[in-house]
Symmetry: C2
Subunit: 494 residues, 2 copies
């Protein structure tokens, strides 16, 4: 029983009110969540192997539980669940309040969730081959796809003929997680306890993970190229040390996208439908690109959030008040997200894993790389929020050890604001200016509500001590975030 | 003779090619530029006193010189000049290629330059009183102003009736510095060797410096207030430790702007003309605001740049390819700026000193606080630029120890792009989207030209490893900057 060093000590559930630990933690202050007292040791053994090998051969479910002291002093059971990524546990390209939960958990529980990048098909050998979970999701032959619906569009592909779901939404999302007792108006706190790259299952690439950067037609650069051929899409494959002993990613090769014919016979001239396996006989691999360039590894989840209430099938691309595709590289290990709950059970899903990204995600994607995350979920009931910083939270709020990060979007809740055609109109109406406007308004409210500042105090502080940056300009609903350092408020008597 | 530890060692002029120092440096690797071998000891003594007290009683001129080994191995004289801030040495609210230089220097020389904030009149007692330099600049009685022209507008105030120059441009700029041999097409490198706050000359505030944050009508927030009275302007006074022993600023009080009548009888209902001394009998000071809030001190120069060629009188507010009002808080001690020279002699001026600012400068201003800087100027002749990273440089480039920072604007060169009415139209046409576009294009070119990357390599790297942030949205020509970390390129064999 030693002192609590958890990064989020002020609301840590691993220690009692005096900072004494009630569960075992490692040197980083992280709980030993992968070693809970196993309820079913044989199953537990399987889980360990599964996580280590990234195999995903298990179904979703409980893998263990432990007892910890809650904030109110009572001892509570913390269960630990696991959701592998497989054709049975993912939904591809959309959020939906109608999805069947993968697990039902209680506040305080942990869930380890495997996520797969939807770009893995750009290098099947490195990112899918030999990995049963990935193979089941990406399976596609003349008769059948492992996951048929990809996107929120029509199943008969009557809009564009691309495929079921039309690729109106592209991210492979694992989940949802149903949080017992969660209702509209509550806030779901999601602590990202651990994040690890998914190792390549191909023995030729032992110890390595891989990621894809696609400079695609939806990128900010696309219509603004200076060299020929114009309107090209380029895939760059990056290598990441699976153990993260190296903190940088390195490019392996790149190639220009060529028309790809999927097993159903549809030709994809551009990257218009997710999960198409690239036939490398049709592309020219350029090795030695970005030689000696070290890209910072910033593992994080591009998509993470709860189901919106406004529509049943919601394209996974535009982020919104319920989170989703925020694409902020700070949403990684040690970070905590707070989401406004919109539907019963919250229905949290996560996907679009990234090994690294810059603020703006300029060319359309990050280093898209499969990751496994462990999350703890804390439910804050609406009735308990009055007078707390989470009262009336209307947007996805990020907290790290040193910062609060306020997410602004061109439209704070585009589904509600843009009417019936919101899901198509959002792609035409976004701007960084609008996102900055939203980030300003939310940050002002945050400072007034959580720090008790007047509007004048808040506005002065935002100008002299808060940094605004471009989150992304490629996700339909563009983003600007404000970084509010906690050290700003360190002058008080503690 | 010890090893060179200068932050910019790769192009340090204080050491020879083997890293042996040829001039004395302190523990930070900074040269003892305030102790050059004095040519005129009596004058040198005056300078020391002047700098220490922030008095500015001297005229501009040479104060000393020393000998150092240049890159080519020859021994060269480095002269050290001083430009105090006074009514005779500043130009208020504009850049101009017609200005008479304050000093004429050679490449390699140092200049210590006092700068005054144009907001000092918001608290005369703390920021002007007892300071001869500031008093001479801000002098304004019924008959005469210390500096009559303030802005690039008409001297007869026939446009708006605000005053001479009409406040079309607001920054008190010290200079210009004429660099011998500089011509259009050259690049002027300006190293910021030291920056120090100007101490209050009022004995009641010994050891303290003060700054002003004005939440003004040109701010991003102004038409978007939620509390009454709407359309208010608010001044917040901040205190800074003049010795910088404390690395934070703290608010002292704020007040709402009231109509101010200047000595010529013009009533300023809003902050529409710089240098109006606020009559504190007309305002209500609210003390205890932002209690316990510590704002990071980031001393820097909001305005620094060379004279443009496109027009004779250029409003100091919109930044452009020649620099000017970039308002990036990274332009402080240890930073190096590179400017494209547009006119003979370059004509470098500096002003708009800030004690701190956030990315976006949201409410219209930073912590506007008088500073004294010491700069070294290196002239790079056009003929020598081929094959170097500075070849064809078309914008103000910032280099710090760890980063290159690329400045994008809504219009890269608004004077050339917007035609005859550029100086008014720029205020209506800016957007963050356009500034991001410009920052993207410049960053791509930078990576291709200086790192030898292909366009595809550059675009991928910009998306996965470069962060884009909002510089400012309040200076007419809005800014977005890209931060390119040098560590990206650390994988090479050295």
């Amino acid at each position: 029983m030693s002192g609590c060093t958890h990064p989020a000590h002020q609301h840590c559930s691993f220690c009692d009110s005096k900072g004494h630990l009630t569960v075992e933690v490692d040197g980083n202050g992280d709980p030993h969540i992968d070693d809970p007292a196993p309820k079913d040791p044989s199953r537990r053994g399987l889980l360990k192997g599964s996580i280590a090998a990234g195999l995903g051969t298990l179904g979703a479910g409980l893998v263990g539980s432990s007892v910890a002291r809650a904030a109110d002093g009572t001892m509570q059971t913390r269960s630990h669940y696991f959701i592998p990524a497989s054709a049975d546990t993912v939904h591809w390209g959309y959020f939906s309040k109608s999805l069947k939960p993968q697990v039902e958990i209680s506040s305080g529980d942990f869930v380890t969730i495997e996520t797969l990048t939807h770009h893995a098909g750009d290098d099947y050998d490195r990112m899918i081959k030999g990995d049963p979970g990935a193979e089941s999701v990406f399976h596609w032959d003349k008769k059948k796809k492992g996951v048929n619906r990809r996107g929120a569009g029509p199943m008969d592909a009557s809009l564009f003929g691309r495929g079921a779901g039309e690729g109106l939404g592209v991210h492979i999302c694992t989940g949802p997680v149903y949080v017992k007792g969660a209702e509209e108006g509550d806030v779901l706190e999601v602590r990202i306890v651990d994040v690890a790259p998914r190792p390549s299952a191909n023995p030729a690439y032992k110890g390595k993970s891989f990621g894809v950067n696609a400079a695609a037609w939806w990128g900010f650069h696309y219509k603004d190229l200076i060299t020929e051929p114009k309107n090209r899409e380029v895939i760059t494959i990056y290598e990441i040390d699976a153990g993260l002993d190296r903190n940088w990613a390195q490019a392996v090769y790149n190639f220009q996208w060529t028309p790809q014919t999927d097993p159903f016979g549809v030709v994809h001239k551009t990257i218009d439908y997710p999960g198409v396996i690239v036939d490398h006989a049709t592309v020219k691999e350029n090795h030695g690109v970005l030689k000696n360039v070290r890209v910072p590894v910033r593992p994080h989840f591009g998509v993470a959030g709860v189901a919106p209430k406004e529509a049943d099938m919601v394209d996974s691309i535009p982020p919104s008040y319920t989170g989703g595709n925020i694409d902020n590289w700070r949403i990684g290990k040690g970070a905590t997200m707070y989401y406004p709950v919109a539907v019963k059970g919250a229905l949290f899903s996560v996907g679009d894993p990234h090994a690294g990204q810059g603020d703006s995600e300029l060319c359309g994607t990050a280093i898209e790389c499969s990751l496994t995350g462990t999350f703890q979920f804390i439910l804050h009931k609406k009735a308990d929020l009055a007078g707390t910083p989470l009262d009336k939270l209307e947007y996805p709020l990020l907290e790290t050890q040193d910062e609060w990060v306020i997410h602004g979007f061109s439209f704070a809740n585009y589904l509600a604001e843009l009417g019936d055609k919101a899901q198509s109109d959002i792609y035409a109406k976004s701007s960084v200016d609008l996102a900055l406007r939203d980030a300003f308004r939310k940050s002002r409210t945050f400072l007034m509500d959580t720090q008790g500042l007047s509007e004048d105090e808040a506005i002065s502080l935002l100008s002299v001590g808060v940094d605004f940056a471009v989150t992304q300009v490629v996700d339909g609903n563009w983003g600007v975030h404000a970084v509010i350092r906690k050290a700003l408020f360190s002058g008080g008597s503690l």
